[in-house]
């Protein structure tokens, strides 16, 4: 019987292939995600192992407020005096101090060379010392020596074509300075760590440019023969100040790998979520395709029943077929994933995330998960059609035009659909609004709820198809003549089929609508917040719009003629009430350029903070039960404790706050942090925003290429670029689901053309032209796609409304232009899907078609 099922499959290759496409793509996304992240992970692992190969132990700075992998903030530096103490230890053979910080390379065009979102790394080397701790390898030239030389990474050198002997600008703490490139380096065998630029100074120069004279960021140590790394660590520990820690080289390599792993697992889960959506859409496509093929095989199945096949055998044969399709498709998807991994990497590179790659890693886990999931999903999707197949009665073998019996529950479908949607929305609301849920449960409730909404709408779609098709098909009927009319009638002819086909498209489009409405809402709120807060003429931000900037550029601007105020908001991290907080520092005149409402206090609060005053946001005050006059202790990364007094409480606008949880005076901030940085600064000038003023400010920033000025509207636009980038990424990833549903439409149309062969022959025989046949198929396809879109937009908007309510930062605005664009996208999907089926239909031989059985 299994053999018969498989033979049947082989006899319907095209149909089987059409069914498989959906699974192939979904599985490819899963396997591609795993291959990509595993490959990057292993590349990082290899790099770090090489880097720490000859380091038995390493002392590094240790933030008093704990490590945070997601923050680019550097750990504090410690006093150089530690080095001498370590060198005197009996187990130490060699110990070397090092500096690690951030410095931008400046290209020939005077602009910062992009690190693709990766921090611009800077290291020190000891050109005449022991090289065993040096993590770098020279690919050409020499190590830098003296205050005018640097080495740069091979990636930048080859990308921007820099050679040994040329000069290059570097921005460390102050203004840009020019250095001579004396060497090109790579790290751990790769030319770059995820696209990060690298600048290498000799040790004394590094200490100087980073204002770290007498300080160190690391001490690398080699043990004497006979001393194990663990013993070495044990010896060093008692010497350490609170802001330093010691690890074996191996532990450090593992930790570094694990840290990148944490970041990679976020990317992986993010991509897997989209693979999940793609597979979910795939189940709709498979279920629908199988339903159609089974309907078409009614007679065949009935004949098997007359020959003694039991219901169970019929069920089994359909499931075996599904299993075979699923397994083959999964294998194909698994290997397609290898290619997709490259494509995904390109996508990330184009968005500025360039991660190192070495040999492709094809883990057993990738194979197992891809094959199991792909096969499982196919078999699950086949369940319903298979059960329906068992209801084919033997008598159908002798009945002309026998159709599959309706499901026993078909009558209640609209009611069931509405109940499903209701339950699904309730589940989502639970996930979105109930307070004490774990993140996992919350995401689970929202995800399952959203999936159930789609299932419910798909169930309801059957009822909605006839009126929708009638309306959406109207233009075709009006202007498409007989072909248009038949297209509309065909779309309405089997509502269940059209509904299932359209529903697959609905899912992808609804998610696209969801993110675009949410993004529009976020932007609207953000713009509202900027409108409320921004009182300055200009803002000073990092060139990349998000990195913190040193205070030097702001200081430079304050010397420009006509400038009345330059007020920068310092940003850093601290710890209060046992948890990590964002700490900001403001000068007294900030209220002249930034306006916030005060729940307690007035605009004068920032100017009255003094040494130990602080203000907090209303939410933070409520959460920590603070009132004006409350004492407030904040711990800094270097272990300092700020004993503060609450002076005011501000109410930030809904779209975001210009300040952190706790804000102190800039003076206090600068004293407490080793390297104070501005998140942004605001500038007022005589005459306000004018071309001349802009030119003067820009000129003053010439030697600070890491910073730029922006007017209020430019500032808004710049900050929204982040949202747009994310939005584009989401669109690209969701387009996979749309492509799968496109194949769903192709499947349905191809199968429908098979089914209507005789009818098409008849139409051609009575005078329908080939172009008319083609138009008819295109019309049906577009109507189906439009039904998908008209289900998707309301669903997406409702979902966006609910999610927007929950995340507060989003207003509810409809991006009409984009919504119209999505409808056009649906039409294009319909057009593309119809190409192959329309060609098949038009090519039918009239005579053969009439005799077709």
């Amino acid at each position: 019987m299994i053999k018969v099922a498989l033979k049947g499959l082989a006899g319907r290759k095209l149909r089987a292939a059409l069914t498989a496409v959906a699974i192939v793509l979904g599985v490819a996304m899963i396997s591609g995600t795993y291959v990509l992240t595993d490959t990057i992970q292993s590349a990082f692992g290899a790099v770090f192992t090489t880097v720490y190969k000859h380091t038995d132990a390493i002392v590094t700075g240790n933030s008093a407020i704990g490590r945070n992998n997601n923050s680019p903030t550097l750990p504090p530096s410690f006093s150089e005096s530690l080095l001498g103490k370590v060198q005197k230890l009996p187990g130490v053979e060699e110990a070397q101090g090092g500096i690690a910080d951030y410095a931008y390379l400046v290209g020939r065009d005077g602009k910062v060379i992009s690190g693709h979102g990766a921090p611009p790394l800077a290291f020190s080397v000891h050109p005449h010392g022991d090289q065993r701790f040096n993590p770098l390898e020279l690919t050409s030239g020499t190590w830098p020596a003296g205050p005018h030389q640097v080495d740069i990474d091979a990636h930048t050198a080859s990308k921007d074509n820099y050679k040994v002997g040329e000069t290059i600008g570097v921005v460390a703490r102050g203004a840009e300075q020019t250095y001579t490139i004396v060497g090109i380096v790579q790290i751990g065998g790769v030319s770059s760590l995820g696209g990060a630029t690298m600048t290498i100074f000799d040790f004394p120069t590094a200490q100087k440019v980073f204002h770290k004279q007498g300080r160190l960021d690391s001490i690398s140590i080699a043990a004497k023969p006979g001393t194990t790394p663990a013993e070495l660590v044990h010896e060093i520990k008692p010497l350490l100040p609170a802001i330093a820690q010691v690890q074996t080289g191996q532990a450090k390599a593992q930790q570094a790998t694990k840290d990148t792993g944490g970041f990679l697992s976020i990317i992986r889960d993010f991509l897997l979520a989209f693979a999940g959506v793609a597979l979910f859409v795939g189940t709709f496509v498979i279920a629908n395709t199988l339903s159609i093929t089974i309907a078409q095989r009614t007679r065949e199945l009935a004949t098997l029943r007359t020959l003694g096949a039991t219901r169970r055998q019929v069920l089994g044969s359909v499931l075996v077929e599904a299993f075979a399709i699923g397994a083959l498709a999964s294998v194909a998807g698994l290997f397609l994933g290898l290619g997709l991994a490259k494509l995904l990497n390109k996508l990330f590179v184009s968005l500025g995330i360039d991660l190192p790659q070495a040999g492709t890693v094809f883990a057993t886990r990738t194979i197992v998960v891809s094959l199991l999931l792909g096969t499982f999903v196919t078999v699950i999707a086949a369940m319903r059609p298979a059960i329906r197949a068992t209801r084919v009665p033997p008598i159908a073998a002798v009945r002309e035009g026998a159709v599959l019996p309706e499901s026993r529950f078909a009558r209640f479908s609209a009611v069931t659909a509405l109940l499903t949607i209701g339950g699904a929305i309730a589940l989502m609301l639970l996930g979105l609004f109930v307070g004490n849920l774990s993140t996992t449960n919350r995401l689970l409730a929202i995800g399952v709820g959203a999936a159930a909404v789609f299932v419910g709408v798909a169930m309801l779609a059957k009822t909605l198809v006839p009126p929708l098709a009638s309306v959406l098909g109207w233009p075709g009927r009006r202007y498409g003549g007989a072909a248009g009319n038949l297209a509309r009638a065909n779309a309405m002819r089997n509502p269940q089929r059209t509904a299932s086909t359209a529903s697959a498209l609905m899912i992808g489009l609804a998610l696209v609508t969801l993110v675009s409405v949410l993004a529009a809402g976020l932007k609207a709120r953000f713009e509202g917040a900027v409108n409320a807060v921004f009182r300055a003429d200009y803002a000073l931000t990092a060139t990349d719009n998000f990195s913190p900037i040193p205070v030097a550029p702001a200081n430079a601007l304050s010397k420009v003629g006509g400038v009345t105020i330059v007020s920068g908001v310092r940003g850093g991290e601290g710890r209060a009430f046992g948890s990590r907080i964002n700490l900001t520092g403001v000068p007294g005149d900030i209220s002249k350029v930034i306006f916030v409402d005060w729940a307690e206090g007035s605009q004068a609060i920032p100017s009255k903070l003094g040494w130990n005053g602080a203000f907090v946001s209303k939410d933070y005050a409520t959460a920590q039960h603070l009132a004006v006059g409350s004492p407030l202790d904040v711990e800094t990364p270097t272990g300092g404790r700020l004993h503060l007094l609450l002076r005011g409480i501000f109410a930030p606008p809904k779209g975001g706050s210009p300040y952190g949880d706790v804000t102190i005076s800039a003076r206090r901030f600068d004293a407490a942090f080793q390297n104070p940085q501005n998140i942004y600064a605001f500038v007022d000038m005589h005459g306000g925003v004018t071309a001349a003023n802009t030119a003067r400010l820009t000129a003053a920033l010439k030697s600070f290429p890491e910073a730029k000025i922006a007017t209020e509207s430019q500032f808004k636009h710049n900050q929204e670029q982040g949202i747009d980038t994310l939005l584009n990424l989401l669109y690209v990833l969701l387009s996979l689901s749309v492509v799968i549903s496109l194949f769903g439409i192709v499947n349905t149309l191809v199968l429908t053309v098979f089914e209507r062969t005789r009818e098409l022959g008849m139409l051609r025989a009575v005078g329908m032209t080939r172009p008319q046949v083609r138009r008819m198929i295109f019309g049906e396809s577009i109507v189906t796609a439009l039904i998908g879109a008209s289900l998707a937009l309301p669903v997406g908007i409702v979902l966006a409304f609910m999610v927007g309510r929950a995340i507060k930062y989003a207003a509810f605005t409809l991006p009409w232009g984009q919504l119209v664009a999505f409808v056009f996208a649906a039409v294009i999907v319909g057009l593309l899907a119809a190409i192959l089926p329309a060609r098949r239909a038009a090519r039918l031989n009239v005579l053969e078609a009439l005799q077709y059985e």
């Binding site: 033979k7 319907r12 004949t303 098997l304 039991t310």
Partner: protein, 252 residues
């Protein structure tokens, strides 16, 4: 097949098929059609019975009910001594496997299987191995010896119907039902198929019930039943084609 029991031809008084007062109504109310209106029927083991009658007289309906493909509105049907109208789907499926063969007007072969695979399909379904010798002699008898590896699309109509008959006989059913097995064939090929049915009834001893429009059937049938308006109106034994035509013209 060697292990398979011979059909139990010693069932009560050698009766293979027995129908008692069967009626079949299609639809409800105004548009209801009474396709059968109280048919009484007994077929003895080893007999070849032909059912004739005008179009719409209920022949196909009767066949489907006798073969257990459809249920009567009232009345009972017994196959090889088992009352089938009240059987569950799974019991009925088993009974079909063991006792019934069916030949369709439109052959109903599976297009992706070759001739031999189609023939052994009922055995494949019940998970049995075909008995080589039996299969060879059956295919030989059906004149398909050199067509085993051909797909249905590569066979003529007559050959396809032979495959269908072989498929119906391969399990050595107690009864073979055939609904217009020659309806889709030219008259020469049709004649060959009729001869084949007679020959197989003699050779393998199964009971055969067949619907046909061909007067020639008179020559091969042991008994001819005439159906009109859902009732058996006449019965002929050892009739000639001329007798048959006479009855038929009377019925129309």
């Amino acid at each position: 097949m060697a292990l398979r029991e011979q059909p139990d031809v010693s069932a009560p008084a050698g009766i293979a098929v027995e129908a008692r007062d069967i009626t079949r109504r299609y639809g409800e109310g105004q548009t209801a059609v009474d396709a059968l209106r109280g048919v009484e029927l007994e077929v003895t083991s080893g007999e070849l019975v032909a059912v004739m009658g005008p179009s719409g007289s209920g022949k196909s309906t009767l066949m489907h009910i006798l073969a257990g493909l459809d249920k009567p509105t009232s009345g009972t049907v017994s196959i090889a001594g088992t009352e089938i109208t009240t059987l569950s789907d799974s019991k009925l499926t088993r009974l079909r496997r063991d006792h019934i063969g069916f030949v369709f007007q439109f052959f109903n072969l599976l297009p992706m299987l070759d001739a031999e695979e189609n023939v052994v399909l009922p055995l494949t379904i019940s998970g049995e191995k075909p008995d080589r010798a039996w299969l060879d002699s059956l295919l030989q008898q059906m004149g398909l010896g050199d067509r085993r590896r051909h797909r249905p699309s590569e066979l003529s109509g007559g050959q396809q119907q032979r495959v269908a008959i072989a498929r119906a006989l391969v399990t050595r059913p107690t009864i073979l039902f055939a609904d217009e097995p020659t309806g889709n064939l030219d008259s020469k090929t049709g004649g060959e198929i009729l001869d084949l049915l007679r020959a197989s009834t003699d050779a393998y001893g199964q009971t055969t019930v067949m619907v046909t429009h061909e007067a020639r059937a008179a020559a091969i049938a042991d008994r001819i039943l005439f159906l009109a308006d859902g009732l058996i109106v006449k019965e002929l034994r050892s009739a000639t084609p001329a007798d048959v035509l006479a009855v038929m013209s009377g019925l129309q």
